[in-house]
Symmetry: C2
Subunit: 421 residues, 2 copies
């Protein structure tokens, strides 16, 4: 991640071909696999591979990954890579543009948060109308159990994040700089609140500052993490339209909110509507209708774990039982309480977090309290009650892979991906 | 027209079957053709034909068509029926719902006006935003040589008509009451201005007052006369959506203007956009892009007659030459000046008006001054110069029927209907 800048698809192809470890060795040895070099040379616009390799080598040599990890942990951040329990597999659809890894900082589990998520994006120079709409969408989406993903920027991003936080729900902020950098700096307090209730995400290593290019590259993550993107307000040349383009190429749903035709800040949204690239949405409910999966969203929503308890393995269930409901316990105490070895505990904890049973707290882990949000704002239920081991009463097919991520292709005919109990 | 109320499709089918004259005789004799009665009885929801016939008979008996025509002429109105030179043939697409005739009052030729026309409709309870947008569309469409058709009501209709009149251009007002009745009465002065510069249209005989049913029935004419309809502002249950539905069923273009999602008055427009029934337009230019025909509208527009002079017959050309450029002359003086008999003059005058060469004035007829509106507001040119008898320089095919009315079916692939010289 230090060797290549974000969005380096050549590095992406190299890692894809020989794995991260061999890629590092190849760079250190300044020797790329010959077939790889040949295929890159055959590309339509072949890059200067020699120069790229030199740059990688120099940056790799200058890097200190161990101290990156130590510093990250000390600050409370964590690094996830493909294959980790918390890795959102929908990112794999980016192919060679997939991030090599992600730095995270926050209490929410990224994978679980993004199972039912929408990206809400728009202009930095938002109008009062746009900010109002974004905040309303933040509230409405959260109350229906949908996680909002956005970029933490001025304007629409900030407004939607604040709406979500006001509903005491988690939100995902994807930055174009290291997770240790607050950009814009005015959002310092906002990001602190998100770390408490949600999660900050970045593809950039700590200490890396944002650039225009990194903003655009970051946008693909916003689109890829979520099931759909809604552009709340955008001028004709807004960066939010870049996120919209990513959503379309990833076959995610795309929506736009109209506004007065006298407002230049809505012209980008209107262009998307006119070209029929985006669906016109005028409320959170309409957006959910668009991105939701039948049987999963049309019924009153319960924000419950994605996998029924009786589908857990026995050791995982024992780990779950050993996780306290209040306070928090570290992996070692959980191992003792569960009568299970530490390695088992560690991998079980990852899966339980991804499935939504447990959450991180400063002291370690605790079980999540499940809320049942319906229209309007609902009350929180007690701790999750295990369902009887009978057929599910809802219409979704039996749970298969809780992380199956429906795209607009697989979503029609509707059904079959998001089990809810 | 006195016998049946507007929109009486059974009467429409009767006239279609045996012609207006025989229909009147049948009603007087209270005897409908047996095959006609049989087919009506076989309809999915057969009407009580006997009762309908009695009603027709009673109304017919009470009517006095001669004095209708006399009174009409005295007030300055005229009656046109299918087959007349001024009859817009696109109305024939209404089938059995085609009006039996139309009362007109105003200086503009209806057929010519509607060749390049769009309907601009919307809420009576318009917001300031909606009224502003409607007026802007009125100005922009007129300056591009497009005639606006609307209903003369409060709100959006009034605003767009006023925008057109401010551009000193003709507009078409389709009423749901007799042309001698100003409804709403507050628009009395507006209608007087329209009679000066445009034309008031009604399917209702003089003296008939509007009812809710007649408003809805009138809407089909607004949709049918024009090439496309744009809904500027409409609440979820607005009557303007009724006009939109007619436009769709007549395969006319349909557009809608978005607004703030916080405005209930735009909710109907947003519904049309969301359901992808209407195209999102945010300017007169975008609307013209939608309804225009290639080669006809993409070039700078000239508001010129629809038929080249050398395609006119010799007698018609002689009549044209005898029509003064200023003031006005009646048919008799024109006949003398042209050395042509009066009947020939009368039919030539109709065709010349339909083709846009001449216009009505209080004193009779005069040649039209052609303006060349381009973006922004252009200067008026001199009187139309006849083109040399060579191939047309624009891309439209040679003129065939100047009244060919492209629908969304015939308009793709584009081309072939609206010759412009």
């Amino acid at each position: 991640m230090r060797a290549a800048d974000v969005g380096d698809t050549i590095m992406g192809r190299l890692v894809s071909r020989c794995g991260a470890i061999q890629a590092v060795e190849a760079i250190r040895a300044r020797t790329l696999p010959p077939d790889f070099a040949a295929r890159e040379a055959a590309e339509e616009r072949p890059a200067d591979l020699g120069r790229r390799l030199s740059t990688w080598h120099a940056r790799l040599t200058a890097s200190d990954p161990v101290s990156d990890l130590v510093a990250g942990e000390r600050s409370g951040a964590r690094l996830i890579i493909p294959g980790d329990a918390e890795w959102p597999t929908q990112l794999d659809q980016l192919g060679a543009a997939r991030p090599l890894g992600l730095w995270l900082h926050g209490s929410a589990d990224l994978r679980f948060s993004c199972l039912r998520s929408v990206a809400v994006v728009g202009a930095r120079a938002a109008t009062a109308y746009g900010a109002h709409v974004a905040a309303q969408f933040g509230v409405g989406l959260s109350e229906s159990g949908w996680t909002v993903v956005s970029g933490g920027a001025f304007g629409i991003d900030g407004a939607v994040h604040r709406g979500v936080l006001a509903s005491e729900s988690p939100t995902v902020v994807v930055l174009a700089c290291g997770v240790d950098i607050a950009y814009p700096s005015e959002h310092h307090a906002l990001f602190a609140a998100v770390r408490d209730q949600g999660v900050i995400v970045s593809e950039c290593p700590p200490g890396v500052h944002p650039t225009r290019a990194r903003f655009l590259i970051r946008n693909r993550l916003i689109a890829a993490l979520s099931r759909g993107t809604v552009v709340v307000e955008a001028a004709l040349r807004s960066g939010a339209l870049n996120t919209a383009t990513h959503a379309l190429s990833l076959k995610r749903h795309l929506a736009a909110v109209p506004g007065p035709i006298t407002s230049a800040q809505s012209a980008g949204c209107h262009r998307l509507l006119r070209d029929q690239k985006a669906t016109c949405v005028t409320s959170p409910e309409e957006l959910i209708d668009l991105v939701g999966v039948m049987g999963d969203d049309l019924a009153p929503l319960r924000r419950a774990p994605a996998l029924p308890r009786d589908a857990l393995s026995e050791s995982t269930r024992r780990v779950l039982d050993a996780v306290p409901a209040r306070g928090g316990a570290g992996p070692a105490s959980i191992a003792v309480a569960a009568g299970v070895d530490l390695n088992t505990v560690l991998s079980a904890l990852g899966g339980l977090a991804a499935a939504g049973y447990i959450e991180r707290v400063p002291k370690g882990w605790r079980t999540r309290r499940t809320a049942s949000p319906v229209y309007p704002k609902a009350q929180e239920t007690l701790a999750f009650n295990t369902p009887p081991p009978s057929a599910p009463t809802d219409h979704t097919p039996p749970p298969t892979d809780p992380d199956q991520f429906p795209t607009t292709e697989s979503a029609s005919p509707r059904g079959g991906a998001m089990p809810v109990v």
